[in-house]
């Protein structure tokens, strides 16, 4: 079922949580709402679910306005960051809850409920835990049970509020891959909220970036990563270095140094360079690039993380393949020139406006 969000605004006292937000989520997609904490993404999710009401605007589910519908009538599955399982019920009863509270005429027979709960528990690969209580499960297991519980009522839309936020890094990674597989299996329109850009880019079909209650950009993970529409998006996705410079004749200049090609009209600009989009050249020879001194090297994993200090004292972070870095024979204290391979430029005037 598709979701259409039309001009949603929501205010908490003097704080504008959402400011005229609109977007369309086509049926069957898995969409990430991504943004820093306090940006309004959870509020938007709760408004879609009917747990919160918008001051203005409409939510259309499959084209029908739901603004007046209570949460229990929206056929929306909701998964909470802290699971919100019923502590006094076994895993089985938790999953069966949504079926058992149906009005008698819609309620499946007990045998049918058992069959469906069993199938759901198999779907989340936890059928062997049916008789346990939530306090006896690990965080990852609890969240999978919460997901099974939400799916039991066959929701038209699945909403997940920071579903992996309370889990440790390894479980989080496993679970998000698993969620992606699950979605490919059941194809229910899903929206999940996260502040973790890696999670959003890895799991979703499309990413909606939200900043200060407004939509900053909507697009596929590749599109938003490669072509950030605003300085906020460029800054939020991936580790980036920020430069305040000027564009002159198609070149980004920082004071006397030319960094490299940059499109955009001449004038002062904000420039972003991702840490892995630098080349390191030994020495401060006049071959272009930005002179800097290596402060610290962390050479763990596939790439070496290098912290450098510019001549004006600002720090720059660079990541290059470990083998490449080893061949350069550089170490802490050495002088190098930084040459960006790719620069994203935003005119400062537009930023100020």
């Amino acid at each position: 079922m598709s979701i259409a969000i039309r001009n949603i605004s929501k205010q908490f006292g003097a704080f504008k949580a959402l400011d005229d937000v609109s977007m369309d989520i086509p049926s069957g997609e898995l969409v990430a709402l991504l943004g820093p904490s306090g940006c309004g993404k959870t509020t938007l999710l709760r408004i879609i679910a009917g747990l919160e009401y918008a001051d203005q605007g409409q939510i259309l589910l499959a084209g029908d306005d739901t603004s007046a519908l209570h949460a229990r009538d929206r056929q929306v599955g909701f998964v909470f960051q802290h699971y919100a399982l019923f502590r006094h019920m076994s895993v089985f009863d938790n999953v069966a809850f949504g079926l058992r509270v149906k009005p008698r005429r819609d309620r499946p027979a007990e045998a049918e409920i058992r069959r469906r709960v069993k199938r759901l528990l198999e779907l989340v690969q936890l059928d062997w835990l049916a008789d346990r209580y939530p306090s006896q499960l690990s965080g990852g297991q609890r969240q999978r049970i919460a997901l099974a519980r939400a799916l039991a009522v066959e929701p038209k839309v699945l909403l997940l509020d920071e579903p992996f936020g309370a889990l440790d890094a390894k479980v989080r990674k496993e679970l998000r891959r698993w969620l992606r597989q699950l979605h490919d299996e059941i194809h229910v329109t899903s929206v999940f909220v996260t502040h973790d850009q890696e999670e959003a880019l890895e799991v979703s079909d499309r990413v909606v970036l939200i900043n200060q209650g407004r939509v900053a950009q909507i697009g596929t993970p590749e599109a938003v990563y490669d072509h950030p529409a605003t300085p906020f998006v460029a800054d939020f996705l991936g580790s980036v270095n920020l430069f305040h410079g000027r564009v002159e004749d198609g070149q980004l200049r920082l004071g006397e140094h030319a960094l490299g090609a940059a499109d955009g009209s001449d004038g002062s600009a904000l420039a972003f360079v991702r840490s892995h989009e630098f080349e390191l050249l030994p020495g401060w020879a006049g071959r272009g690039g930005l002179p800097a001194t290596i402060v610290r090297v962390v050479s763990v994993g596939p790439s070496a993380q290098i912290e450098l200090s510019r001549t004006d004292g600002e720090l720059v972070e660079v990541a290059i393949a470990r083998d490449t870095f080893r061949l350069l024979g550089l170490g802490e204290g050495d002088k190098v020139s930084l040459r960006p391979r790719q620069i994203r430029v935003f005119p400062t005037e537009a930023q100020a406006a």
Binding site: F78, G98, V101, S135
Partner: protein, 278 residues
């Protein structure tokens, strides 16, 4: 040769347990044993006639019946009280919160005299009730009223923190799964607070059974009608019938103890159902 000593992650069991038992013995068991010993000085026949005379049996019925009923009433209204205090914000909330504890602090005789005054035939409430042909003062209803009054804080104070502890999200999850409000209350909220309700019930009941000061003023103490067991015990003491008094007291003690044991077991069973670790 040093023997291997096993260290517990929770040290001090011996000391703490010893202290607990000593304290329990000094404060609770020794006085109770004295009751038992005094009772034993009666023969079986004398004991039986002391504890089974019609007037005494009628007082048991009133004391335990009214106490159970009062505790039950307090469970219902205490829950509503706790609900309002936890869930809503309103002007004067902290005042209401403080007033709940007043029955704890008020000298029971003051409460008794106040209740008796307003409920007496010429008191403001008594006059109103008389128009409906209801008499409270000097009847078993008066006893019930006093016991409800002194028992209210127990249920409110046991349920309040547990209710506050219930995450909002759990209720939202239930609503999202299609549960109506009453279903959420019956299937999600009530099971969560039932152990606390039982504790509150037990405490309100225990307090009511032993209550004396606030009851005697409003009860009128009509033998066979509105005479509570603690008053009978006092009456016996005033007649220098010490053994008779302790005999009645010991019967009361045994019944109270059994009832509390049952409530505690029930509560333990409920709690264990969903907090047990694997």
């Amino acid at each position: 040769m040093a023997s291997l000593k096993r260290f517990s992650p929770l040290p001090g069991f011996g000391l703490a347990m010893g202290y607990t038992l000593l304290y329990l013995t000094l404060i609770v068991l020794i006085p109770l044993t004295a009751v038992g010993a005094k009772t034993l000085s009666l023969g079986w026949e004398a004991f039986w006639s002391a504890v089974s005379s019609p007037r005494v049996v009628a007082s048991y019925q009133l004391s335990f019946g009214a106490s159970l009923l009062a505790a039950g009433i307090n469970v219902v209204f205490g829950l509503i009280f706790a609900w309002v205090l936890v869930r809503y914000r309103f002007p004067g909330k902290s005042l209401v919160d403080a007033l709940v504890d007043l029955p704890f602090a008020l000298p029971t005789a003051v409460a008794g005299i106040a209740l008796a005054t307003i409920c007496a035939e010429n008191g403001p409430v008594g006059e109103l009730l008389k128009t409906f042909a209801i008499e409270v003062a000097y009847t078993p209803y008066g006893v019930l009223l006093a016991l409800v009054f002194i028992g209210l804080p127990f249920v409110v104070r046991t349920v309040q923190p547990v209710l506050a502890d219930l995450e909002r999200e759990v209720e939202e999850a239930a609503a999202g799964l299609g549960a109506a409000r009453w279903q959420t209350f019956l299937k999600v909220i009530l099971p969560h607070i039932t152990p606390a309700l039982l504790t509150g019930f037990a405490m309100a009941f225990a307090r009511a059974v032993g209550e004396y000061g606030s009851v005697i003023f409003i009860a009128g103490n009509v033998p066979m009608v509105s005479e509570i067991t603690p008053l009978l015990i006092i009456t016996k003491l005033e007649q220098y019938d010490y053994a008779g008094a302790t005999a009645v007291a010991s019967v009361m003690l045994v019944i109270s103890f059994l009832l509390l044991l049952i409530i505690n077991a029930l509560q333990g069973w409920m709690q264990q159902r969903y907090t047990a670790e694997a």
